[in-house]
């Protein structure tokens, strides 16, 4: 049951997370902005000028949704895993664990923190893209929905990583060896139709493909995969990861003895 006290606790966690994002803006907001700008310059401007249009869309415009989504995913993930693991490492996670705040509120608070950073960075990257190209927006609902759901999915995945991680190496392991390859192979820089058939089929096992394509649909009105199927995949992932988080919290994995 949701009470006013739960709402206050949720607001507190989100406020704390947002304050953290602002307090360390040079670590949370600035680096992704610089990285994505470099992508626009190098891939979009320098290399993109030599690449033919995809479905009538210039390569520069084609990579905008992918780069925005890339920023949303890596920042929502990075925010939750570093904040949660940091709280575990300094043991200040105990502050909320000894309080009457239910598990689902703690999960929702951290996830919302990740969503805030993901969307803020995503919007900033989109604004930067306007210096290079003026992308057309076809379906606003798809842009907002895919951006938010993708941030929710990866914030939840980050929470699981944060709970299991026993040291900073284990935090970095998932980001470096699983998340980054999945992002680059998720169709950020190319249409999966340009891949050999076997690779196209393999790509369908990469959840990033559905996020990038659903998001791209919002801009151009076309995508490699049916956007409603993409949406279904994201909703199912959100539910599964939510249930996994609730289970892990109840069990106290990595946070209770």
């Amino acid at each position: 049951m949701i009470s006013y006290e739960h709402y206050i606790a949720l607001k507190t966690i989100v406020r704390k997370e947002t304050t953290r994002i602002i307090r360390i803006w040079s670590q949370t907001l600035l680096p992704p902005l610089i990285t994505q700008t470099l992508y626009f310059v190098i891939f979009g401007k320098f290399i993109g000028s030599q690449v033919r249009a995809i479905n009538g869309v210039s390569y520069m415009a084609f990579i905008v949704p992918g780069l925005v989504m890339m920023a949303v995913i890596s920042n929502s993930y990075g925010n939750v895993v570093s904040s949660f693991f940091g709280a575990k490492f300094q043991r200040n996670i105990e502050e909320v664990l000894v309080s009457p705040t239910p598990d689902w509120v703690i999960i929702a608070g951290y996830v919302l923190g990740g969503v805030v950073r993901g969307i803020v960075v995503g919007v900033l990257v989109f604004l930067v893209s306007l210096f290079f190209v003026h992308p057309v927006v076809t379906h606003w609902w798809a842009i907002l929905l895919f951006m938010t759901l993708s941030a929710v999915v990866f914030s939840q995945a980050a929470l699981i990583n944060g709970m299991y991680a026993r040291n900073f190496d284990e935090v970095a392991f998932f980001q470096n060896f699983i998340l980054t390859p999945f992002i680059y192979l998720g169709g950020v820089f190319y249409s999966i139709h340009s891949l050999p058939e076997l690779c196209q089929k393999a790509s369908l096992y990469n959840p990033l493909v559905y996020m990038v394509n659903g998001f791209r649909y919002g801009f151009f009105g076309f995508s490699d995969v049916d956007p409603f199927f993409c949406l279904g995949v994201l909703v199912i992932l959100t539910i599964i990861l939510g249930l996994v988080n609730l289970f892990l919290f109840k069990k106290g994995i990595g946070i209770k003895n």
Binding site: S3, Y4, E5, H6, I8, A9, K11, T12, I13, R15, K16, T19, R23, G86, A87, Q90, R91, N92, E94, E95, V96, L97, V98, S99, P100, T101, P102, G252, K256, N257
Partner: protein, 301 residues
Amino acid sequence: MNAIEIKNLVKTYRTGTKALKGVDLTVADGDFFALLGANGAGKTTIIGILTGLVTKSQGSVKIFGHSIDTDFEAAKKCIGVVPQEFNFNMFEQVQDIVVNQAGYFGIDYKIALKDSQEILKRVGLWEKRKAMARTLSGGMKRRLMIARGLIHHPRMLILDEPTAGVDVELRHGMWKYLSEINASGTTILLTTHYLEEVEQMCRKCAIIKEGEIVRLDSVRNLLRTIPQDTYRVTVKEMLSLEGVRAYNPVQIDEHTLDIEIQKREELNELILKLAQSGFVITDFHPKGNRLEKLFLEILRK
């Protein structure tokens, strides 16, 4: 209603270590209760279970009538915790730490802000409210944890070795403060290594050994069971102790000695024996830490 009711509490860690072996413990509402035990005896495990940081293997725990199995949310509302080690975000400001803690307990931001002013003034940290936690001294950090534990006005404050590593002046200040909190109606449960602390402040005490409660009584009754008292005697000049050998004298320095006297014996006789041995007594007072002796005896058994 009791503040704590623990029945047959068992905790076995994944490593196989049995930290608690069927603990039964009751703490009355308003009590000042001490949980004593050597390192690894199970004190922190009990506190962990009460606060939700450790999951129990077996048994039942009620906090002010709320079972931690069926209504842990209500039970947690009644508790404020001051852990053994600093567990706040070192990069947050003092007031934010306290206000956020209130938020986790469902207290509105504006009210929390007002309450934090009162509590930070009370623990002497108001001037430091904008300071980052890591810049505080050790004593200030401990006071910050007390402020954080009290911000939601809990019915019971649980302190895990609150004065460990704290200098004498601050320790006495904390004793005074805790006594005031208790006098205002807050139940206090503390674990400590300083038996003087227990003797001075606590009304009731449980001694835990290897996961079992071996003694549970009022501090007064426990002290009564000690067959002898120790007195610290200051003399003008140290002479032969032969004449007072029966009192197990222990020379502390060239002017001080500790002397044991059985409770049934008279002090007059002791003073007479000291005088007959040629000692000129300049000071004579009962030595604190009487409980320490009993505690050590129990642990050795």
